[in-house]
């Protein structure tokens, strides 16, 4: 286009003049490249591909149970409040009306008041953001507490390694921090 300006100039400038309009091409390739990811994410958020990227399995909690899934099959994501791992869950068909609230925690809670983070959502699809300290031992257990409408409480657990292998990989990469 502008060959005239290229005569007495540095190689960098020549390069810029020759290739600058290709920036357009590069920029337009960006959304094209991200399109598969965009539609995969849209399907994940809609629940077209299930309650999460990886279903960890069913956890028995007293008379009740739930299906636990990792929202994303990856380690905790960075957050201003510390690393956070998002789990999704679905209550068993019979317990939707029985369970008042469901909580998630690393390690066994001492009481209902320290049951951990609460799940938000419907019995069919609910989610909780679990803080995962970098010093969490890889053999930790994930404890689920459920509360009934009359105040009864039941607990159940699943090894973290089973609930989220990606989190274990992440913990191993962190190394043990004092």
């Amino acid at each position: 286009m502008s060959k005239v300006a290229a005569a007495p100039s540095s190689p960098l400038r020549t390069f810029w003049l020759k290739w600058r309009f290709h920036l357009n091409l590069l920029l337009v390739l960006v959304p094209l490249g991200f399109m598969p990811r965009y539609f995969a994410d849209a399907a994940l958020f809609r629940g077209d591909t299930g309650i999460g990227e990886r279903v960890a399995g069913d956890v028995q909690v007293g008379p009740w149970s739930l299906t636990l899934a990792e929202f994303r099959n990856e380690g905790p994501s960075p957050d201003p409040a510390g690393p956070m791992k998002f789990f999704n869950a679905a209550l068993c068909a019979a317990c939707a009306d029985q369970v008042k609230a469901t909580y998630l925690r690393i390690g066994k809670p001492r009481s209902l008041r320290a049951a951990g983070v609460i799940f938000f959502g419907t019995p069919y699809r609910m989610g909780a953001g679990l803080p995962v300290p970098a010093r969490t031992p890889p053999d930790a257990e994930l404890w689920i507490t459920m509360e009934g409408w009359d105040g009864t409480m039941h607990q159940g657990s699943i090894p973290l390694s089973q609930a989220s292998p990606a989190t274990i990989a992440w913990l191993n990469k962190q190394g043990v921090k004092p």
Binding site: M1, L23, F34, R37, S77, F120, W149, D150
Partner: protein, 400 residues
């Protein structure tokens, strides 16, 4: 610097602002235009989102009646939210949760409560907004870099407006004597078009570039955990405020219509247009809508068991700064006053897209000319520095 060479410089800056990325800028303008009327485009294409009246004297249902109708048709489904769109020809947007784990937006008829359809996996409205807003780059940690990429364009757009007005001598005369010469060749036509549409869109380019730049600032503030919001952080409902009931019997909540009545009484001028139902037993019911100032929403969070308003966020709670910053998004999207404002925004969005294109056409034609001239001259005078003629030919435009 002399007055003439200064205007030459301004002109060069104006010519070069968007040039290397002109196609990117064009696509952002076009997708933005589409995003403004995306809801209307879907309305035209898909009868499921139309609010068809079953009979002439049909009255819209209350939110409780809508939920009852949905539950009657499908007892398993759980309603998570209801949004009544600003324009009455749109169906209600209802957030539904299905036993198979799907959580989708559905379209409910406001007069019968019937679910007319479920938003498709390819949601045109969401897609155009994602493409325009963040270039589809996913949000992984804070704002996506696509968001920064697009919102950064607010700055060159603002600079184009300013430099354009500086180089267009006495531009206000263009309002009185509009010029659009059609029979003088493409170069003249596009030049006239660029100037004419430019002066008539001064206000629009200013609005879009300033609000676009705000999105850049917003991302920067967000990613650095700087908050200017007066919105209270709402804790979950205290344990003793949630009644205990018999095993297997969820504690009864007050009817939604009663909750809306309570919120409307407490918040003067509230037109409740959306409700978000509690997300668990310890979560509030959120009711919101517009007030006297059409660019912002007011919300109230109620205890769903006794109707007690725990937190509200009203227009009167906002700081003057928030009136400015919260108005930025509706001003950018044109979504605050119904169909006509959207159509005005879409029209000027189209004009802005055409300005990017006409600017490019002018540049190409002029550069082609300048290149030809420069080559001719360099045949005559071998030793003459080659870049100077280009600048001179280019800047002739500064004094049309």
């Amino acid at each position: 610097m002399s007055k003439k060479s200064r205007s030459k410089l301004w002109f060069l800056v104006h010519s070069w602002l968007a040039l290397p990325i002109w196609f990117f800028v064009l696509i952002v303008c076009v997708t933005g235009t589409l995003a403004v009327v995306s809801q209307e485009i879907v309305w035209l294409a898909n009868p499921e989102i139309r609010a068809s009246k079953p009979s002439d004297d049909a009255e819209p249902l209350s939110f409780d009646q809508v939920i009852a109708a949905i539950k009657r048709d499908d007892p398993q489904v759980i309603v998570r939210s209801i949004i009544r769109p600003d324009e009455s020809h749109f169906a209600l947007s209802v957030g539904l949760s299905y036993p198979d784990g799907r959580s989708v937006e559905a379209y409910a008829n406001p007069y019968t409560g019937a679910i007319q359809g479920i938003s498709p996996a390819f949601d045109f409205q969401q897609f155009t907004r994602a493409l325009h807003g963040w270039w589809l780059v996913p949000f992984t940690n804070g704002y996506s870099w696509g968001w920064y990429l697009v919102s950064f364009l607010g700055l060159p757009l603002l600079a184009s407006l300013v430099t354009g007005l500086v180089v267009y001598k006495r531009f206000w005369k263009g309002f009185l004597r509009p010029t659009l010469r059609i029979r003088h060749g493409a170069r003249i036509f596009w030049g006239d078009f660029h100037r004419l549409s430019g002066i008539w869109s001064i206000w629009f380019i200013a609005v879009i570039s300033i609000t676009g730049t705000w999105f850049l600032i917003q991302a920067f503030l967000g990613d650095n955990q700087i908050s200017i919001s007066s919105e209270p952080i709402v804790p979950v409902i205290a344990r003793d405020k949630v009644p205990t009931s018999a095993a297997g019997v969820p504690a009864p909540m007050i009817p939604l219509d009663d909750a809306i009545k309570i919120a409307t009484q407490r918040i003067p001028g509230l037109e409740a247009s959306f409700v978000f139902l509690p997300l668990n037993a310890y979560s509030h019911l959120q009711i919101g809508g517009r007030g006297w100032y059409p660019l912002m929403f007011q919300t109230a969070q109620l205890n769903p068991y006794d109707g007690d308003i725990a937190v509200s966020h009203l227009l009167s709670d906002r700081t003057p700064l928030e009136f400015v910053t919260e108005s930025m998004r509706p001003l950018h999207t044109g979504d605050f006053g119904g169909l006509w404002i959207k159509l005005i925004w879409a029209f000027f969005g189209l004009v802005l897209s055409m300005m990017v294109l006409s600017g490019l056409l002018i540049w190409t034609k002029r550069t082609a000319l300048a290149t030809a001239n420069a080559l001719k001259r360099s045949h005559k005078v071998q030793r003459q520095a080659a870049s100077i003629p280009v600048m001179q030919t280019e800047t002739q435009e500064a004094n049309p």
